[in-house]
């Protein structure tokens, strides 16, 4: 069994699926010879050939648009956009076409494609390399937005995303690309989409999170346990469509919820979770739902980036506030 980082698990999933499904193709900027700027696609061109793993001209609208075209004709494109901050030219193709091809043609043409992109802050990168705008995509009906937060889930969710008959935007939290390792058996077993994962059972409060924030949330839960607060931690994983059932079930037991994400708080998906709780779980709530997120400011450059994202202390303070009300 392999002890892998998150980015290595992405690579392992791509390799598995390419070996087992010859319609899967990988392309994008610098994914071939260079193996991706984060090395997510390293070795794939050697293994599967330049026909199935190739570098494209530098154009994101083109990458997404080609994918739509290929997907409708029997391929499963798994393109990479180098950073989420450069995904916006592709937005048009995703929102205007990939997300609605099935619906528009009443199922005649479909778009089984997975657009992968690293996202989030925390690596001292230049401007536009730190965005967390998953909510843009979650707002589009017809597209799934999947975010792994561990090597095991990266592997299993990516396999399922590729096998899914509909378009998936697969966002990889680059801050934790190499933060820790896990045993990730290369058995080709997918993990369910549209399902939240409880990563730590608890009874006092439910912490709902995704992406790189899962790390601080997990650490906060550990420190809170020492104080006698027993947190349940939930990784939403598929942030759209959202797994309401798991959220509601958990909060029906704990009675309290704190939502933690890195994206700007206003219009962020924490609001969607809170709305689910307000409309369908109000009677199990013993305290107001609290959201902890990035501020409503441009993700700052390196000097301030760790002031922007929710840190362990901010999460703990939010939990205390929730416990005390």
């Amino acid at each position: 069994m392999a002890n892998l980082t998150l980015v290595e698990a992405v690579n392992q999933a791509l390799a598995w699926e390419m070996a087992h499904d010859e319609t899967v193709v990988v392309f994008g900027e610098d994914v071939g010879v260079n193996g991706g700027v984060f090395r997510a696609t390293v070795g794939l061109q050697e293994k599967f050939g330049i026909e199935r793993v190739f570098d494209t001209p530098l154009a994101e609208a083109m990458i997404a648009g080609l994918s739509v075209g290929m997907a409708t004709q029997g391929f499963k494109p798994v393109p990479e956009v180098q950073f989420m901050g450069f995904i916006y030219p592709a937005l048009d193709q995703i929102v205007s076409h990939a997300s609605r091809m099935r619906n528009r043609t009443r199922g005649r043409l479909t778009c089984p494609m997975v657009l992968r992109a690293p996202f989030g802050t925390g690596i001292r990168a230049p401007e536009h390399h730190s965005e967390s705008t998953e909510a843009f995509f979650a707002h589009m009906p017809g597209v799934r937005v999947v975010i792994p937060s561990s090597p095991v889930r990266a592997y299993g969710l990516l396999l399922s995303a590729i096998r899914d008959p509909d378009p998936v935007v697969f966002l990889e939290p680059k801050r934790i690309y190499r933060a820790f390792r896990q045993e990730v058996p290369d058995n080709g077993e997918g993990l369910p989409l549209d399902k939240a994962f409880v990563t730590r059972p608890g009874t006092d409060v439910t912490l709902i999170t995704w992406g790189a924030s899962a790390l601080e949330t997990w650490n906060a839960a550990g420190e809170l346990a020492d104080e006698g607060i027993d947190c349940e931690v939930m990784d939403l994983a598929t942030v759209s469509p959202m797994d309401k059932e798991t959220i509601l079930e958990s909060v029906s037991r704990t009675g309290r919820a704190v939502i933690v994400h890195e994206a700007a708080i206003s219009g962020g998906l924490g609001g969607e979770v809170a709305a689910v709780l307000a409309s369908e779980g109000l009677y199990s709530l013993e305290a107001p739902v609290i959201r902890v997120g990035g501020y409503d400011a441009v993700p700052p450059l390196a000097r301030m980036e760790y002031g922007y994202i929710p840190g362990v202390q901010r999460i703990k303070d939010a939990v205390h506030e929730c416990m005390e009300s």
């Binding site: 700027v37 001209p57 401007e127 536009h128 400011a297 980036e305 760790y306």
Partner: protein, 357 residues
């Protein structure tokens, strides 16, 4: 069948790789002071760049893009611009930006992760470094439209790379410039690579300059490592723009002599021999030969110049390192002219949490 349209793309070089004149030189090349000034800035660009890389290695700035190999393309272009023109640079164009009057300490701030650097002194109406590829080409076209509408005798200059010519924004900017007859120059420094992608992978076109033809603007290719060819082309293109003659696309042939950025390892995708060969054609090398032959430039002068520039850069590095850290409040203060109450509340929360260094 009748030929309905025919085009050609010219290539201009004045100095060969040994600094020898290949044809009669333009007037400015006889101006010893002006040539010395440009040569000095080319060296300054190199010295600054070297120091940047070194600061990155020691963790004092973040990921940074090197301008190694671009010295002639940047300085020759910037030198042809007037203060009232506007520059829309990509992230690699430190030399051009410094020539325009921006302090090196402020550029270091940008690469050191501090937004205040972009609120730079000098060249106040120039655009900040642009990271999303090719998007600045549209801004330059828009600035040019503003000049045109106001009747200003000024032009806008967008700087981008070979990879940028594949983006929709690049084509849209060129097309707008043609359709609206805008006073703008699109300057493509073709350094042969977009990260790992060689230019042959970007396009099947023989030149990038010919993309001008499709939109009805002027296009030409120059030796981007030849300061004189660059300055000459830039003067013609900017003058054409300012005098209502329309837009120009210049493709400056060069080579990226460094990794793409400090986060890149170019040995993964290009052979050492290629880099070695290209470094023999490096712009500074060529200019040195020229300065020696034309103006009796000596090795002693060269050494003294580099020492002087190193000291100048060091002062800027010190100024950068001595700048107090930004405060977390600042990330809120420039979101809007008038801060919404909700944001003010967030600022108060942020104040409570120390930012780890």
């Amino acid at each position: 069948m009748p030929v309905v349209a025919q085009f050609e793309i010219t290539y201009t070089q004045f100095l060969d790789e040994h600094g020898k004149a290949q044809q009669e030189l333009p007037e400015f090349a006889a101006d010893a002071d002006e040539m010395a000034r440009m040569y000095r800035f080319m060296h300054l660009t190199r010295v600054f760049d070297r120091r940047c890389i070194n600061l990155q290695r020691t963790g004092q700035v973040g990921t940074i893009a090197s301008s190694n190999g671009h010295e002639a393309a940047q300085i020759g272009l910037a030198a042809a611009m007037r203060p009232e023109d506007v520059l829309a640079p990509s992230y690699r164009e430190h030399g051009a930006v410094i020539w325009r009057g921006v302090r090196m300490s402020q550029l270091l701030a940008v690469w050191g992760g501090d937004e205040r650097g972009h609120n730079w002194d000098g060249a106040r109406h120039d655009f900040p470094y642009c990271v999303p590829i090719a998007t600045q080409c549209l801004h330059a076209a828009g600035a040019a439209l503003a000049f045109k509408m106001r009747g200003d005798e000024a032009c806008a200059v967008a700087l981008c790379g070979d990879g940028a010519t594949s983006e929709g924004a690049f084509y849209e900017a060129l097309n707008a410039a043609g359709a609206m007859n805008l006073p703008v120059v699109f300057w493509v420094t073709n350094n042969r690579y977009a990260i790992s992608m060689p230019v042959e992978g970007q396009t099947a076109a023989q030149t990038l300059a010919q993309k001008a033809i499709a939109v009805g603007i002027s296009g030409e290719q120059v030796d981007g490592n030849d300061l004189i060819a660059v300055r000459n082309a830039a003067e013609i293109a900017t003058q054409r723009a300012r005098s209502g003659g329309g837009a120009t696309l210049v493709e400056a042939l060069s080579y990226r002599l460094a990794d793409h950025t400090t986060a890149d390892d170019a040995t993964r995708y290009r052979p050492d021999e290629e880099v070695e060969q290209a470094s023999r054609r490096a712009p500074l090398h060529r200019m040195k030969r020229f300065m020696e032959a034309r103006f009796g430039w000596t090795d002693e002068q060269e050494t003294a110049l580099i020492e002087e520039l190193e000291a100048e850069v060091e002062k800027e590095v010190e100024a950068y390192l001595a700048t107090p850290r930004p405060k977390i409040e600042e990330i809120f203060e420039h979101q809007f002219a008038n801060m919404p109450a909700a944001l003010e509340a967030q600022r108060e929360i942020a104040r409570r949490y120390p930012v780890p260094d």
